[in-house]
C-alpha cells in the first residue's frame, strides 16, 4: 500500500511544490515513513538543454571523483553542486544528494538515432552498477527527482520542495513491503525523460527484469518499480510505440476480451501480447508515468489498486484518493475513475 499523486498543466503553467506536498501528506496512512519523493518537470529552465543528473553519494571525497571522471570522458559538465537541503531532526542524511548539468558529446555514439540519450543511459547504468557509493536517481533534461527515506512532509522540507516550479509533478509515499526502505528505493524512479510512481507490487518482476536486461538496462535499486521506468523507455523511446499501445502492452486485456474484439483490433492486441509477453506486468498496481509533455496513469487489469482522476481547466490530476486531489485543488470540476487497464492520459498542448 502506497499513496500516489500526479498533476500536469496542459498549458505548461508552473506550480511550486507546496500543494503537492500538502496532497501527499493527506495519504500518510498509505506510507510508513521509510520513503517519499517528488519529481518536478520544468524545474531547471536555466539549464533546460542539459541533462540534470541527480546522484546520491555515500562519500563525496572517495566516490565523486570517479563519477566526475566518467562524465568528463563522455561530455561536458557546465555546472554541478550539492542539492540544497535543510537539516531536520527526524531525517538522517545518510547520502549527499548532488546535481550535475551535463551535455554528452554525441560524436562518441555515432551510430545511434538518439546518441545523447544512449550516452546518458550508459553512464547511469555504469555508475549504478560499478561505482560503489554512488547512485544516479534522476537523469532527464529540465526535471528533477527529490526523494529520501522519510515521511512526505519531511522529504519535502528536506529539499525545500516549495522552491521548485514545475508544470508537471508526481509524488509518492512509500510503504515498503518486499524490500527494505532506503533512499534509492523511494519513488519516483526516473530514467532520462521518464519518471514513474507506483502503488502495488509487480509479481512478474523476475520475467520483466530478465526481459529488460536483455536490452542493456541494469536493475540496481532492489525494487520492482525501477523496471517500469526502463520498460516505458524501451517501448516508447526506443520502439516508438504510442503511449496508449505501450500501456496496452504492459497491462493488456484478458484473452477472452481479446477474442471478443472485432477483427483488426483483435489482431493488434494479439500481436502486442505475443511481441511483448515478457513486458506484461502482473500483480496489483496503480502506476503514473510522466515525461515533459505528458502524464499517463493506469492500473492492473483487475483493478487491485485505487486510482481516481480529476480536472480543473488545463490541470489534470490523478491520485490514489480523491481527497488528496481536493487538498491540492479544491476547485476541481470533474472527478472520474478509469476502467482497469485503461490509461488516463494528459498531454501538454502549449
Amino acid at each position: 500500500m502506497c499513496g500516489i499523486i500526479g498533476v500536469i498543466d496542459r498549458g505548461r503553467e508552473t506550480m511550486d511544490g507546496t500543494a503537492i506536498r500538502r496532497a501527499l501528506s493527506m495519504m500518510n496512512e498509505r506510507g510508513s515513513g521509510e520513503g517519499a519523493g517528488y519529481v518536478a518537470y520544468g524545474c531547471y529552465p536555466e539549464f533546460k538543454d542539459y541533462f540534470a543528473l541527480h546522484v546520491f553519494f555515500d562519500n563525496i571525497h572517495e566516490t565523486k571523483p570517479r563519477v566526475d571522471e566518467l562524465l568528463h570522458e563522455w561530455g561536458r559538465v557546465v555546472h554541478d553542486e550539492e542539492i540544497p537541503t535543510w537539516d531536520l531532526p527526524r531525517l538522517r542524511k545518510v547520502h549527499t544528494p548532488w546535481r550535475y548539468f551535463f551535455k554528452p558529446d554525441t560524436r562518441l555514439m555515432p551510430r545511434s538515432i538518439t546518441p545523447a540519450e544512449e550516452i546518458v543511459t550508459e553512464i547511469v547504468m555504469r555508475i549504478n552498477t560499478s561505482v560503489e557509493g554512488a547512485l544516479v536517481f534522476s537523469s532527464g533534461r529540465n526535471l528533477g527527482v527529490f526523494k529520501a527515506a522519510g515521511w512526505p512532509e519531511e522529504v519535502a522540507d528536506f529539499y525545500r520542495i516549495e522552491d521548485y516550479e514545475g508544470h508537471c509533478w508526481l509524488a509518492h509515499n512509500r510503504y515498503p513491503t518486499n524490500t527494505p526502505g532506503w533512499w534509492g528505493g523511494a519513488h519516483p524512479f526516473n530514467l532520462l525523460d521518464w519518471s514513474v510512481v507506483h502503488n502495488g507490487e509487480i509479481t512478474s518482476y523476475g520475467t520483466n527484469r530478465r526481459y529488460i536486461e536483455s536490452f542493456g538496462y541494469r536493475c540496481t535499486m532492489f525494487t520492482d518499480t525501477e523496471v517500469v521506468a526502463y520498460l516505458v523507455d524501451l517501448l516508447v523511446r526506443r520502439h516508438a510505440l504510442p503511449e496508449e499501445l505501450a500501456v496496452t502492452a504492459l497491462a493488456p486485456p484478458f484473452w477472452d476480451e481479446i477474442d471478443a474484439m472485432a477483427d483488426g483490433r483483435r489482431r493488434l492486441h494479439q500481436a502486442l501480447r505475443l511481441t511483448y509477453g515478457s513486458a506484461m506486468m502482473n500483480g496489483p498496481f496503480a502506476i503514473v508515468v510522466a515525461n515533459q509533455d505528458s502524464m499517463v496513469a493506469f492500473t492492473d487489469r483487475s483493478k487491485l489498486r485505487p486510482l481516481v482522476g480529476a480536472e480543473n481547466g488545463d490541470r489534470l490530476y490523478v491520485s490514489s484518493e480523491e481527497a488528496a486531489i481536493r487538498a491540492m485543488d479544491p476547485g476541481i470540476t470533474r472527478v472520474f475513475m478509469p476502467r482497469a487497464g485503461e490509461p488516463i492520459i494528459g498531454r501538454v498542448v502549449a
Partner: protein, 247 residues
C-alpha cells in the same frame, strides 16, 4: 438535545473520532461534521443511536464496524464505506470508491451515484442480519465478488447498463444482486447465474427502490417496473467444491 457541530478542517481522524465517541457517550443524538477532507475511519466502531452528517469528502473505511448510527455524506465517499458494518445506515449524496460495503454484515448503504470496483465484496448474512447496498447508477467490475449474503441493488439511473464489466458475482455463494435493465451474460462471473424475480423478491426490491427515492428526493415511479429487473444468485451453495483437492 441539539446538534453538535465539529469543524473538521485539518483535524486528524483520531481526535475527530475521539470527539464523536465522547459526544455519543454523553447522549448527543445529532452531529454535524463540517469541512471534512480525507479523514479515514469516521465513526469507526461507534455504537448507538446517533445521526452524523458529513460535509465534504471523507476518507476510506467510513463507518467501519459501526453498529447503529446513521451517517449521511454530502460529498463523495472513498474506498470501503461500511466496511464490516454491523447495523445502521450510510447515505452518500455522491459517488463512492472501490470495495463499498466490504464484508458488511448488517445495516444499509445507499449511494446516489456510481461505485467503483468490487462493490459488496464478501457481504454476508446470518439469521436476522441482512445487509443491503443500493446504488443509483452503476458499479464496476467484480461486483459482489465472493458474496455470501445480503442484497445488492443497482438502479442504472444514468441510462446505461448497471454493470458492463467482468466478474459480476464472481464466487458468489449466498445473497443476491438485483440489476435494473439486465446484464450481458458475458459479464457474469464464475459461480453466478441469472434468475427472474419472484413475487416475494419484487416486494423486497420495490421497498428498497422507494427507500432510495426517499433518501435522494427522486420520483420512484420510473424504477417500479418489475419486468426491468433481473436477479443474480449463486449457481450452487458451493460453487467451487470441485476446486478443492481433497474432494
Amino acid at each position: 438535545m441539539e446538534e453538535l457541530v465539529i469543524d473538521a478542517a485539518g483535524v486528524h481522524y483520531t481526535p475527530l473520532n475521539r470527539e464523536i465517541r465522547a459526544a455519543v457517550a454523553a447522549g448527543v443524538k445529532r452531529i454535524r461534521l463540517e469541512n471534512v477532507l480525507g479523514q479515514r475511519f469516521i465513526a469507526n466502531g461507534v455504537r448507538g443511536d446517533v445521526a452524523i452528517e458529513v460535509h465534504g469528502v471523507p476518507g476510506g473505511d467510513l463507518g467501519m464496524f459501526m453498529s447503529g448510527p446513521r451517517i449521511e455524506v454530502f460529498g463523495n465517499a472513498e474506498h470501503a464505506p461500511g466496511n464490516t458494518m454491523d447495523a445502521g445506515e450510510i447515505v452518500v449524496h455522491g459517488s463512492a470508491g472501490d470495495a463499498v460495503g466490504h464484508s458488511m454484515r448488517g445495516g444499509r448503504i445507499f449511494v446516489e451515484g456510481a461505485i467503483g470496483y468490487r462493490g459488496g465484496i464478501h457481504m454476508k448474512q446470518y439469521e436476522g442480519k441482512r445487509p443491503v447496498l443500493v446504488i443509483g447508477e452503476y458499479a464496476r467490475a467484480f461486483l459482489g465478488e465472493y458474496m455470501a449474503g445480503g442484497t445488492v441493488l443497482i438502479l442504472a439511473r444514468h441510462g446505461g447498463p448497471a454493470v458492463a464489466e467482468r466478474g459480476l458475482g464472481s464466487g458468489i455463494h449466498g445473497g443476491e444482486i438485483v440489476l435494473r435493465g439486465g446484464v450481458d451474460p458475458v459479464y457474469l462471473g464464475a459461480g453466478a447465474s441469472e434468475v427472474a424475480l419472484t413475487d416475494e423478491d419484487w416486494e423486497r426490491v420495490l421497498h428498497l427502490v422507494r427507500e432510495y427515492a426517499r433518501h435522494f428526493g427522486v420520483d420512484p415511479a420510473p424504477f417500479e417496473r418489475r419486468d426491468e429487473y433481473i436477479r443474480i444468485v449463486p449457481a450452487s451453495a458451493r460453487p467451487f467444491a470441485s476446486k478443492y483437492a481433497w474432494e
